[in-house]
C-alpha cells in the first residue's frame, strides 16, 4: 500500500469511529436537548485545542455475541485540550455507543487519561452519560469502575477533578463523581442513584419517579451530591469554564491572578444589615459588596442554604468564602451545613486558596432529628476542617457569634490568622434572651412582674455583653472595624498572610469525623 493509500485508509477508519453510534443515535441524543460526547468536549475546551487519544481502542469481550459487535471508541472519548489557555485532561462517555455502558476497555481509556492528568499535574474533567456497567462483560466492568475510583481517590487534593453528569449515572458509576471535587448537573438531563425506581419498587414496594429519586434538582437541593445546577447543557458548560478560572491547576500552584477590580457601586455595605438583630438579610450582598467586581461564584447554592460557600477574588486573587446565611434558618449550623462547609474548607486548603469566613449565627440548630442524625460528629467536621487548614484564614464577625457557633466559625481559637468584627458584632456565650433566662432565673421567677424583670435583665445583658468589646478586651479579636473598612482590612490581611507557611508535623493523615 502506498503512503497516500495508507493515509486514505486511516481517514476512513477514523471517520467510522468518530461517527459514534451513527446518525440516528446522534439525532436521538440531540432531540433530548443533549449534545453528543464530542460536541460537549468541543464546547468546554478552547476552540481547536482538543487532541484525542485511544480512538481505535476496542473491547475484547467474546461472550453473548459481543465478539461480533463493533463499539466505536468503546463508548468513551478521551483526550487533552485547553480551558482558558490551561491544559486539562478530559473524557466523555458516548451514550450513542451501547448506551455509554462501561466495559473494561472503556474504563481503561478513562484510567489512562486519569493517570496522565495525575502525572502531568492538570485538572481532570469527566463527562458522565452512561447506562452503567456493560452487563455482558460481567466482573470486568466492575474491575473498570474500581480502577477509576482508586485513581479518583489517589488524585484527590493533587489535581482538581470535575464531574459533569449529562445523562444517567446509576449504580456503582455514581461513586466516581462522589469522589471528585465538583459535580455539575443539568435539570431534566442528569439522573443519579444507586438503585433505580424499578428495583426500589420490586424490593421495597415504594413508587417514585426517576426525577424525584435522583434528578438534578434533588441532587442539588436535597442530597447535596451536586455542586452546580444548570437549566441547560450550555449554561452548565459556562459554569464549568467559570469555575476553572477560579481554581489552581494543581496543588502546587496558585489560581491565576486577574486584574483587580473594585466592587460594584450599588452594593452598599453599610446599608445591608437591618437594625433589628433578629431580622434577616442576604449575606451574599455583603460578600458582593467587598469582593472584586462583586463577582461571587456560589457553590452548592441550593443545598443547606443556611451556609453560603463559594469563590471570589480580592485584588485579583482567588479566595474561598464561607458565610453564615441569616436569610435561611437564621444561619444556624446543622448536619448539612457543617458537611457542606467542612468539605469546601478542605478543598480550599488542599489547593492553596485563602479562606475568608463571615460570621452571623445563633449557634447549632436544636432538634431531636439533628441530634439523632449525628450533629455532634457532623458539626465536628467544621471544627476539624478549620483547625487543620493551613492556608491564610481570615474571619469577620458581622453580627451574632454565639456559643459553639462562635468557636466553630474559624475563631482565633481554631487558628484564624486575622479576626475582625463589625461594631454590630455580638460575641457571647449565647443570645441575651437565653443568657438572661439562665443567669437571672431566680430574680425573674420570684419577681411580682416576671416579664418586666426579664426584659430589664435582657437589656442589661445586651448592654454589657452583646458587643465585640468583651472578646476584644481578651485579645480574641484583632480589630473592630466599620463596615466601610471591610475591603481594605481584608485585602491587607490577605497581603500580610500571602507567605504564610505553616509546617505540620509529619503524619500519614488525620482521622476527621467522616
Amino acid at each position: 500500500m502506498s503512503l497516500a493509500k495508507k493515509i486514505l485508509d486511516f481517514f476512513t477508519r477514523k471517520e467510522k469511529v468518530t461517527a459514534g453510534g451513527g446518525e440516528q443515535a446522534v439525532q436521538k441524543q440531540n432531540s433530548m436537548g443533549k449534545m453528543t460526547a464530542r460536541q460537549r468536549i468541543e464546547a468546554i475546551l478552547d476552540s481547536q485545542t482538543f487532541h484525542e487519544y485511544d480512538l481505535f481502542v476496542e473491547h475484547t469481550n467474546k461472550d453473548f455475541g459481543m465478539d461480533k459487535k463493533f463499539l466505536p471508541g468503546d463508548g468513551v472519548i478521551t483526550g487533552t485540550g485547553n480551558v482558558a489557555g490551561h491544559p486539562v485532561c478530559i473524557y466523555a462517555q458516548d451514550f450513542t455507543v451501547a448506551g455509554g455502558s462501561l466495559g473494561l476497555a472503556h474504563a481503561r481509556k478513562i484510567t489512562k487519561i486519569m493517570d496522565h492528568a495525575a502525572k502531568l499535574g492538570m485538572p481532570l474533567i469527566g463527562i458522565n452519560d452512561s447506562g452503567g456497567a456493560r452487563i455482558q462483560e460481567g466482573v470486568n466492568s466492575l474491575a473498570g469502575y474500581g480502577e477509576i475510583f482508586y485513581r479518583n481517590t489517589k488524585s484527590s487534593g493533587i489535581i482538581p477533578q470535575i464531574s459533569v453528569i449529562l445523562g444517567p449515572c446509576a449504580g456503582g458509576a455514581v461513586y466516581s463523581p462522589a469522589l471528585t471535587d465538583f459535580v455539575f448537573v443539568v435539570d431534566k438531563i442528569s439522573k443519579m442513584f444507586i438503585t433505580g425506581p424499578e428495583v426500589i419498587k420490586t424490593v421495597l414496594g415504594e413508587e417514585i419517579s426517576m426525577e424525584d429519586l435522583g434528578g438534578a434538582r434533588v441532587q442539588a437541593e436535597i442530597s447535596g451530591n451536586a455542586h452546580f445546577f444548570a437549566e441547560s447543557e450550555q449554561e452548565c458548560i459556562q459554569q464549568i469554564k467559570k469555575l476553572m478560572e477560579f481554581i489552581p491547576w494543581n496543588n502546587q500552584k496558585k489560581a491565576d491572578k486577574f486584574a483587580p477590580k473594585p466592587p460594584k457601586a450599588h452594593f452598599k455595605i453599610e446599608e445591608i444589615m437591618p437594625k433589628d438583630p433578629k431580622e434577616p438579610y442576604d449575606v451574599r450582598d455583603v460578600i458582593k459588596a467587598f469582593v472584586d467586581d462583586s463577582d461571587f461564584l456560589e457553590v452548592q447554592e441550593h443545598f443547606a442554604a443556611n451556609i453560603v460557600i463559594g469563590f471570589a477574588r480580592m485584588k485579583g486573587e482567588t479566595v474561598g468564602i464561607v458565610a453564615n446565611q441569616p436569610l435561611v434558618l437564621a444561619g444556624v449550623l446543622d448536619v448539612d451545613s457543617s458537611n457542606k462547609a467542612a468539605r469546601f474548607i478542605r478543598y480550599c486548603d488542599a489547593f492553596n486558596i485563602p479562606l475568608i469566613t463571615l460570621v452571623d449565627l445563633p449557634g447549632y440548630l436544636p432538634g431531636v432529628d439533628q441530634e439523632h442524625a449525628g450533629v455532634i460528629r457532623h458539626g465536628a467536621k467544621i471544627l476539624y476542617a478549620y483547625s487543620e487548614a493551613s492556608v491564610p484564614k481570615i474571619t469577620l464577625t458581622l453580627r451574632k457569634a454565639y456559643g459553639g457557633g462562635y468557636i466553630a466559625m474559624c475563631s482565633r481559637h481554631l487558628g484564624a490568622d486575622f479576626y475582625f468584627a463589625w461594631p454590630s458584632a455580638e460575641i457571647a456565650v449565647m443570645g441575651p434572651e437565653g443568657a438572661a433566662n439562665i443567669i437571672f432565673k431566680k430574680e425573674i421567677t420570684t419577681a411580682s412582674n416576671p416579664d418586666a424583670v426579664r426584659k430589664e435583665k435582657v437589656a442589661e445583658y445586651t448592654e454589657k455583653f452583646a458587643n465585640p468589646y468583651v472578646a476584644a478586651a481578651n485579645g480574641f479579636i484583632d480589630a473592630v472595624i466599620s463596615p466601610e473598612e471591610t475591603r481594605g482590612y481584608l485585602c491587607h490581611a490577605l497581603e500580610m498572610s500571602a507567605n504564610k507557611n505553616e509546617q505540620l508535623p509529619n503524619k500519614k493523615h488525620g482521622i476527621p469525623p467522616f
Binding site: 421495597l204 414496594g205 433578629k278 435561611v328 437564621a330 444556624v332 445563633p362 443570645g431 443568657a435 433566662n437
Partner: protein
C-alpha cells in the same frame, strides 16, 4: 429591601425571622416509641400473618413475616399479651415505620 415569606425560628429563647428550607419543614416530629405498637423496621411486603385479633400470644411467638430485600423476616412477640388490632394485610406492601399490629 423587604424580604418576603419570613417565618420564625427559636434558638436559645430568641425568636429570629428567617426563611425555612424544605428539609426543615418536612422534618419528622419526634414521637416517643410506643411499646405496644409493632412497626415495620424496613419497607417490604407482609407474607404471613400468624395471629388473629384478640388472640393471646406468648413472648417470642411468631406474629408475621415481613419480606424485604429478598429476606423473610419473622417478627416475634416482644412480650406476652393480647393482640388488640392487626393493621397489616397479607401480601400488602408497607413503608418503613408503618404500624403493623397493636397489643392491648
Amino acid at each position: 429591601m423587604k424580604i418576603e415569606n419570613l417565618r420564625s425560628l427559636v434558638v436559645d429563647d430568641t425568636q429570629y425571622n428567617t426563611k425555612l428550607n424544605t428539609k426543615f419543614e418536612n422534618r419528622k416530629k419526634y414521637a416517643p416509641k410506643n411499646e405496644k405498637h409493632i412497626i415495620a423496621f424496613i419497607p417490604g411486603t407482609i407474607r404471613e400473618i400468624y395471629v388473629k385479633q384478640g388472640q393471646q400470644v406468648s413472648k417470642t411467638q411468631d406474629l408475621l413475616v415481613l419480606e424485604a430485600m429478598k429476606m423473610r423476616n419473622t417478627i416475634k412477640a416482644p412480650f406476652s399479651g393480647t393482640i388488640k388490632k392487626i393493621y397489616a394485610k397479607t401480601d400488602g406492601t408497607v413503608p418503613k415505620g408503618e404500624l403493623l399490629l397493636e397489643f392491648e
